[in-house]
């Protein structure tokens, strides 16, 4: 293949390179949590906070919030509240002011993001009607499909209503999604208001207990279209009206939310495209200005990448504490608990085989993209989070392991030059790749064993588990599983979450600072 673009004059790649040289400061694009990380690491270890320190921190927090697209007024308010609490008496009592500030920021963020998660209740006389509204391209149609899937999982029978007669093929898109979910669609090429009201009757007639109305995207300043959606709402009398908003939205999120709230009396917000690197400040803005909770978060392109929004999770994610709850939920869905325990035990013991590895990889794959999982893990330093983990690497690793004989998987030391050649051929890779994988695997195993030994020594040398796998399965397994967590509290009281293995092995900086119990 030729490279026809090489003749281009100063292409933007060249400019980009130059630009990166000029601005080597990686802070330009770091996430809010990294930002706080940095600020707090400066505060860490100080005995006391001076007024000037507080101002420093607050300025950084304000900047971080603005860079995260939090609305200016919202950021000001938030910073004001943090200042009030930080310089107040609470701080003077604190043993460790840095911890205190972190706690305050976390609390304020959580409060701003919505306090408690919203719970969906169903209309006593079905159907429960849900109206989706928002700007063009926010993801209304996609999330109508996702919401349908969600309701279906709750044991409900949704009917989707295609009231977006504006965008070409929007109803087609809805039909395709509905087909994937396995729910019906009602639409006709008439008028959006008519379609919506007929749909309710249709749902009653056919016994659907949830109706989700997908409407056309509209600008908040378009009076005619806002009037139309108001009429739709008047016709269907929705139990829930959701504003669908893109996590990448900037300062304008507030105007949009306000206008839709004034027109429709929103009940909640669906925050979409959270799987990107958008810092999601829009969520804070919307919640703060409109006072309505963010109910759902859309976190991927698949229909299942949709979950109830948990303000505390986003707040702790913003603060770099990881999204542990989501991780646990995913793990519970994907893992065979006993199996995982056993695997973890063998990992610590150093008897983890390639077969175990293969098996665990299958489980993890069910939990979603590895990159996302890493992002949820607490205490992972930025450097580790930034390493791009390509899920295709997993396929390659799988390919290599599957090309080995059972004996080789159990004892990788068996693998000599000619075996390596054969495995590489089987997997369609180079012998070097096989060697690489084996080296990395051995190194990982060693690292994990060291980690285990370290933890045991520090905690309780007698707790070191016996070599008998079978015996360990029942009691020992559990204890072992818990050992990681036992170790944690020494450093982090509430969240047992540091990953010493990573830090020790990769020479990475320490994870998140210790946190006080709430």
């Amino acid at each position: 293949m030729s490279e026809p673009s090489s003749g281009e004059p100063a292409g933007c790649k060249a400019i980009l390179t130059d630009w990166r040289r000029r601005y080597p400061d990686p802070n330009m694009f770091e996430t809010l949590s990294d930002r706080f990380d940095e600020i707090f690491s400066r505060l860490r270890g100080r005995g006391k906070l001076t007024e000037a320190d507080v101002d420093d921190v607050l300025r950084e927090i304000r900047l971080a919030l603005l860079e995260a697209d939090v609305n200016l007024d919202v950021a000001k308010n938030l910073v004001g509240r943090i200042r009030e609490r930080s310089v107040g008496e609470e701080l003077s009592k604190a043993l460790n002011p840095a911890q205190q500030v972190i706690k305050i920021v976390l609390e304020e963020l959580t409060t701003s993001l919505g306090g408690e998660a919203m719970k969906i209740t169903y209309a006593s006389k079905p159907p429960t009607v849900v109206l989706m509204a928002g700007l063009q391209g926010a993801g209304k149609t996609t999330n109508t499909g996702k919401l349908a899937q969600w309701f279906k999982k709750q044991g409900r029978n949704p009917l989707l209503v295609g009231a977006d007669l504006q965008r070409p093929a929007a109803v087609e898109q809805l039909r395709t999604l509905a087909g994937q979910v396995g729910v019906p669609v009602f639409s006709e090429p008439t008028d959006p208001v008519d379609v919506a009201s007929k749909a309710i009757a249709e749902a009653e007639r056919t016994g659907r207990d949830v109706v989700i109305v997908d409407t056309a995207g509209r600008l908040a300043i378009d009076e005619a279209l806002m009037e139309q959606v108001r009429q739709i709402s008047g016709q269907v009398q929705p139990d829930y009206t959701f504003l669908v908003i893109d996590a990448m939205t900037g300062q304008d999120a507030v105007n949009t939310a306000k206008a839709f709230n004034d027109t429709l009396e929103l009940d909640g917000v669906i925050l979409t495209k959270l799987d990107g690197d958008a810092r999601g400040g829009a969520a804070l803005s919307v919640k703060e200005v409109v006072g309505k909770p963010i109910t759902f978060a859309s976190t991927g392109e698949k229909l299942d990448d949709f979950e109830t929004f948990h303000p505390d999770r986003l707040a702790s994610r913003i603060l770099g504490m990881g999204d542990v709850e989501t991780l646990i939920e995913k793990a519970e869905e994907a893992f065979e608990a006993e199996q995982a325990e056993e695997a973890a035990a063998r990992l610590m013991e150093g008897t983890f085989t390639l077969d175990d590895f293969l098996e665990q990889m299958q489980q993890i794959k069910k939990m979603g993209p590895i990159g996302n999982l890493m992002g949820m893990m607490p205490g992972i330093p930025k450097e580790a989070r930034d390493v791009e983990i390509d899920d295709r690497q997993i396929a390659r690793i799988e390919g290599i392991i599957r090309s080995m004989t059972p004996a080789e998987r159990a004892d990788p030391d068996l693998i000599d030059g000619s075996r390596r050649q054969r495995i590489a051929q089987g997997a369609g890779m180079q012998p070097g790749d096989v060697k690489n994988l084996l080296d990395q695997f051995t190194q990982m195993r060693k690292m994990m064993k060291q980690f285990a030994g370290f933890g045991t020594k520090k905690q309780n040398p007698k707790n070191r588990r016996g070599k008998n796998n079978k015996k360990g399965k029942q009691k020992g397994g559990r204890r072992k599983g818990g050992r990681v967590t036992e170790k944690g509290p020494a450093a982090v009281p509430k969240s047992p979450l540091t990953l010493p293995g990573l830090e020790a092995g990769e020479g990475l900086p320490p994870g998140f600072p210790s946190l006080p119990n709430n």
Binding site: S5, Q180, L502
Partner: protein, 372 residues
């Protein structure tokens, strides 16, 4: 890389296992009620009972303003901007004091220009004020405008079909449209097709978004409106092959330009970005030459727009930006940073849903509109 993956897996195994155990211990003694499924209806029963409207008979009523005059940038923005003008007017009355500067910076931040760029602009204007004899704050808007216009000036905003200029063989030029989900790539192509056809250019559309449900249908409807040929593949087909086929079809028809749609993708998805690089490479495998790679950005986008521009530029060498949805209340200030930091100019602006609502970017009008 490999090590990271191996360790990541190990770490996830350990942590997940420990949490599963932890959670189970916490929940011991608790019984969790299964969801009430008593009123579940068999889907197929319900499906058969529902008359859905015939797909083919769906008429969309998108406003097609064929005869409407092409809107001026300023006309379209005027409505949305009126609130801003009063605000800025208030700031700039009276003498200059620290509060004035702060208000100025804040106005720029509210327009999504971003803290870093706003500070830069403010410092530049400050330097001018200190060097000169400006005393009345009323003069500040002009200075700020001039500073912004200067930063946005000197870019080539034309759309090129010159395949020889980028070292390509004679054949169709390819304009590739890329961007995150929901920014308006397909709509932009639809509008641009009409514009180019009106200008006498021979166009072929490539429905390269094979991922989003009904994306190809959407583009097909646009193709019918402008009466241009479209090449599409099955849903889930390899987008590279669709674009390749479109190029060969364009070559056979002796068409000038292929407008190639691609699926929206978040810039952080490495695999999808690689797929996009491949689409660009394959577009040039046959007779085609990519002369424009246009990143479509939604004006409501905040600071993440910079990350989008950076990542897409890395993957496909972006030659210009299409700024869509500028007719709303969002100001699209992030493009200032994209111009100055990445050197990528905005080439087109989307100002509405009508087929004619796609206009050239004009920095003076853009900046004027910001402060009107």
């Amino acid at each position: 890389m490999l090590l990271a993956t191996v360790i990541a897996i190990a770490a996830i195994v350990m942590i997940s296992a420990s949490f599963v155990v932890l959670r189970r211990e916490r929940n011991e003694g608790l019984t969790i009620d299964p969801p009430d499924l008593t009123d579940v209806v068999d889907i197929s029963d319900v499906l058969s009972g529902i008359e859905v409207a015939d797909t083919d008979s769906i008429v969309e009523s998108e406003p097609v303003l064929d005869d409407a005059p092409r809107p001026s940038f300023r006309d379209r923005l005027a409505g949305a901007r009126s609130s801003l003008s009063g605000f800025l007017g208030g700031i700039f009355a009276g003498g200059i004091d620290p509060g004035t500067w702060e208000a100025l910076e804040e106005a720029l931040i509210r327009a999504d220009v971003g803290v870093a760029t706003s500070t830069e602009i403010m410092e530049a204007v400050k330097a001018k004020v200190e060097a000169g004899s400006v005393e009345d704050a009323a003069e500040l808007p002009a200075l700020v405008k001039a500073e912004l216009v200067e930063r946005l000036s000197g870019f080539d905003r034309s759309l090129s079909t010159d395949v020889a200029a980028v070292g390509g063989q004679p054949g169709p030029a390819v304009w590739l449209f890329v961007g995150v989900n929901g920014v308006g790539k397909t709509t932009t192509i639809g509008k641009l097709a009409k514009r180019e056809v009106d200008a006498g250019t021979k166009i072929v559309l490539a429905a390269g978004d094979t991922f989003r449900a009904a994306a190809a249908e959407q583009l097909t409807m646009w193709a019918e409106r402008s009466d241009v040929p479209i090449v599409r593949g099955a849903e889930g087909a390899d987008p590279s092959s669709v674009v390749f086929d479109a190029v060969e079809s364009a070559n056979a028809r002796n068409a000038d330009v292929v407008l190639a749609d691609t699926a929206g993708r978040l810039q952080t998805k490495t695999n999808l970005m690689e797929e996009l690089s491949k689409v660009r490479r394959v577009a040039e495998k046959g007779t085609g030459t990519v002369t424009e790679t246009l990143l479509v950005i939604d004006a409501t986008t905040g600071q993440n727009g910079m990350s989008q521009a950076e990542q897409f530029a890395d993957a496909v060498d972006v030659s210009g930006v299409v700024l869509t949805k500028l007719d709303g209340s969002a100001k699209g200030g992030i493009v200032v940073a994209i111009h100055t930091e990445l050197g990528v100019p905005v080439k087109l602006v989307g100002l509405g849903e009508g087929i004619n609502d796609l206009v050239e970017f004009d920095e003076v009008e853009f900046v004027d509109a910001l402060f009107e």
